[in-house]
């Protein structure tokens, strides 16, 4: 049914249509509305049978998810930011054990300084944890990706993160098409676990593995993610056949066919980039956008195929490896090894800094003229950065950086909530 609704409420409905047996909930902005929505659906009897567990922390949320999944339950949870970091040890266990848990990450920055706004630092910090990571461009795609995620997770027996931009998507109201229960049931069969803790047929899950087989277990995780490179497009094609719209897949190009410049990005900024590209095309610029929808596994071949005829690549990312530069950019470079293209990394939108068409147009113009720095921070306020550097050069006790910068821009310094 098509209606105007909040992204989080829509994701809650989508997850409910997947008939999860267990939901582990711990609140953290900007994810909270999703589990609240699911809690209401369970309490109201719409989602039944389902065990909705309020746990005491994110670490508990993932630990309970592991137990539930190992017992054969279709299991879901959601988190963001520091919450994701708090569950990290259990996150690695979930993938190491091959448990097909689905988790929404409502992407948000990581502190310090404390910041509740959107960027991709949280899920990017977990890119090597063994979970598959799918990125949603819009709330409709977030709705659709959750349905695909359960299929994918259970066919591979691997956990899947669905990453959606916190606030920008989770708190946005837009026109959304929520599928029917019949459609979802036809697409997503009941969970048939590869391994299950069953008193009638006892097994142990979670053996200690020494040097004799550890590498092989890890290799198999990689082999499964490699298999997912074939499975993800297949599942997306079946989704399109059943639901009548496109969602998911490895990558999606927009006006890339004849583009000499291609911007690579993930998540909701792709929409803003499409508007920017359309406007620049009217001025004659041959520019396009490549949206990476599966970040893990990383589609090296698909990215390479999309880029093979272009002259320059701009990777625009809401993540940043301190002391190195781009996170996504490093992967894109690997996809392009042997291809001679100009490569630019643009870090943008950290901690919720708006990414505007005006700034994108200026930056992309600089890139097309090949006068962009190899590593650029979009709309960085060099003035306050330089003032702090001068302060640190001029005195020993220069004080806390965040507070200094806030005073420099005339903002209020607030106590940590």
């Amino acid at each position: 049914m098509i209606s105007q609704m909040e992204g989080s409420a829509a994701v809650a409905q989508s997850v409910a249509l997947c008939r999860p047996d267990v939901i582990c909930a711990y609140p953290i902005s900007p994810q909270t509305h999703i589990v609240e929505g699911l809690g209401a659906l369970v309490k109201g009897g719409t989602l039944a049978p389902c065990e909705f567990l309020n746990v005491e922390s994110e670490f508990a949320a993932m630990s309970v998810a592991i137990g539930a999944s190992a017992a054969g339950a279709r299991t879901y949870t959601a988190t963001a930011s520091q919450g994701l970091l708090f569950m990290v040890e259990a996150i690695y266990n979930a993938s190491g054990l091959g448990l097909p848990i689905v988790m929404t990450v409502a992407n948000r920055a990581i502190g310090a300084p404390i910041n509740i706004w959107n960027d991709h630092s949280d899920s990017m910090s977990q890119r090597d944890c063994g979970w598959l990571q799918l990125f949603a461009e819009s709330n409709q795609e977030a709705v659709d990706l959750h349905i695909q995620a359960f299929r994918l997770a259970e066919e591979l027996s691997m956990p899947v993160m669905v990453c959606m931009d916190g606030f920008i998507l989770t708190h946005a109201y837009e026109r959304l098409d929520i599928p029917s229960q019949e459609q979802v049931d036809a697409y997503l069969p009941p969970y048939d676990p590869r391994q299950v803790l069953d008193p009638a047929e006892p097994v142990s899950i979670g053996a200690m593995v020494g040097p004799e087989a550890f590498m092989e277990v890890r290799y198999l995780a990689h082999a499964k993610q490699t298999m997912a490179l074939d499975l993800i497009p297949q599942i997306a094609a079946e989704f399109e056949a059943g639901f009548g719209r496109k969602a998911g897949g490895l990558v999606r190009g927009y006006r890339t066919e004849d583009a000499t410049t291609i911007v690579v990005a993930l998540g909701s900024v792709v929409g803003t980039l499409e508007e920017t590209v359309d406007a620049m095309r009217e001025g004659g610029a041959k520019i396009g956008v490549l949206s990476i929808r599966s970040y893990r596994p990383f589609p090296l071949a698909a990215v390479r195929a999309a880029m093979k005829d272009c002259e320059r690549v701009v990777v625009l990312e809401k993540s940043f490896s301190v002391g190195m530069g781009g996170v996504v950019a490093a992967d894109v470079r690997l996809a392009l090894s042997g291809i001679q293209v100009h490569g630019y990394t643009v870090v943008a939108g950290l901690g919720g800094r708006p990414i505007t068409q005006t700034s994108l147009t200026r930056m992309l113009g600089d890139a097309m003229a090949d006068r962009l720095a190899p590593l650029t921070f979009l709309d960085l306020n060099h003035d306050i950065v330089n003032r702090q550097l001068a302060r640190e050069a001029g005195m020993r006790r220069s004080g806390p950086i965040a507070e200094n910068l806030l005073r420099d821009i005339g903002g209020k310094v607030e106590a940590t909530p």
């Binding site: 837009e174 909701s268 900024v269 803003t272 508007e275």
Partner: protein, 194 residues
């Protein structure tokens, strides 16, 4: 200025935490959807606290909306708290053909925004005592739904019927009825007979 007659319309709502600023943008988007338009509403993503300045946004278009950036060049402004007029640059980026609806029982001159009004076409800056109307209907000075009724009359972007539908989508029972009655009163108050 009806939807369909032109390109994307962008509305920015200024108010304070607790005044239903975010809900107003959401209801506006529901009203636009009800009329067959594409609409996108989102908050300014702050850690909203009661009394703190809050901004929300709504885009309305005939085609799907892809841009996700905050609205910097609005076609219309709704100011839920007139005290913000001189505390925050609420008029920033306003279209020269824009509309401004201010929650106040005072005149434009009394509010000190006559200069802004002079830069816009005649009749584009309007005040509406929305908190007083809300107080009478709801026993609470919550101006958001009332202002949407006034917004429908001022701009014609959305109809009163769509606003009433959106109110019933967001609220239930007596609260919905009272808000709808208050919005209707505001609409009648501002509607210029055709």
């Amino acid at each position: 200025m009806a939807v369909g007659a032109m390109t994307m319309l962008q509305i920015r709502i200024h108010g304070r935490g607790g005044q239903g600023v975010v809900t107003a943008a959401e209801m506006l988007s529901i009203a636009a959807f009800e009329q067959g338009a594409h609409a996108q509403a989102f908050p300014s993503f702050g850690s909203e606290r009661t009394g703190a300045p809050v901004v929300s946004f709504c885009r309305i278009d005939t085609r799907p909306i892809r841009s996700r950036e905050p609205i910097s060049a609005p076609d219309a402004l709704i100011i839920q708290d007139a005290h913000l007029l001189h505390q925050v640059d609420v008029f920033q980026g306003l279209s020269p053909q824009g509309y401004v609806l201010i929650n106040s029982g005072r005149t434009i001159a009394e509010l000190g925004v006559a200069e802004v009004a002079a830069r816009l076409p005649q009749g584009r800056v309007i005040t509406l005592p929305a908190s007083e109307i809300a107080l009478r209907h709801l026993n609470r000075p919550l101006p958001n739904a009332v202002l949407l009724g006034g917004f429908a009359a001022l701009t014609g972007i959305i109809t009163l019927e769509a606003v009433v539908h959106a109110i019933h989508d967001k609220f239930k029972g007596r609260v919905a009825e009272a808000n709808a009655a208050a919005a209707t009163e505001a609409y009648v108050m501002l509607k210029v007979p055709a």
